[in-house]
Symmetry: none
Subunit: 137 residues, 2 copies
Amino acid sequence: MKKTIFVFSSLIIALLVLFQLSKYSYVSGDISLEIIIAIIAIVFFVIGVYINKKTLRKEKLSSPINSKNIEQLGISKREYEVLVQISNGLSNKEIAEKLFVSESTIKTHVSNLLLKLDAKRRTQAIQKAKDLHILAI
Amino acid sequence: MKKTIFVFSSLIIALLVLFQLSKYSYVSGDISLEIIIAIIAIVFFVIGVYINKKTLRKEKLSSPINSKNIEQLGISKREYEVLVQISNGLSNKEIAEKLFVSESTIKTHVSNLLLKLDAKRRTQAIQKAKDLHILAI
DNA sequence: TTGGTTTTGGTACTTTAGTATGACTCCCAA
DNA sequence: TTGGGAGTCATACTAAAGTACCAAAACCAA
């Protein structure tokens, strides 16, 4: 939010300065109009590139998880938690400790996940889950 | 992104109107000049956004794999091939068939990979490899 | 040609992963 | 209030995965 305000403020100030310059040149005739326009064009071009790069970076960071696919596959809340931990590279034992349940429980969840994702292995499950956008890429 | 462009355009137009209003009280200056400048600004801003989006799309398609990290970790060409197949969710047996070697060979490669990537499991290796940008994310 | 790395492969072993099955509790909607 | 899904856990098993150690080609640069 602060950044946005800063960017907008800078933009407005830049615009102001440019207007003043153009006005000045119009009166005194020192600087040619074409140069002013060229500068304005370049400045706004650069601003466009900059803004675009910023917003794209944000889009990349925010993972677009498709919760519809999770539902459609019938993956429960707990199963999804396990799936996330699998994709983080944890073993069944480690997941069990992290979620405060037994390893047997995790094995059950994993088996169900493999069925629902139509995968033979956990590595394949990771791949399929990412293809379905139900895991952050 | 569309929103950003719209907001900026509106802002610039609003600014222009304000300038015109304030100007009317002082000098009966050139109205069309400022409008032209504003249009140029908007147009070049949009062009900047558009150009940037195009170039970024190209960068995205060519996976930004950091080959330096591969070298620094001492991962050989063959090992890297195996790593790619692991991340695709294949089993050792399947990788062996795909690369026309025995499963023993793949196991050796995998063990070496786990050592070099400082991972305990293949799933963890996938994670670490992606963090190091040596695998397409 | 020599020496080091890569790639390959094997055996023997331990550890995880995954399957199948059954059972118990909890909760929620019909 | 009852049936069903979700979550839990256990046992017993099979299948992969991974480790350790060794060794022989193949390749490549000095």
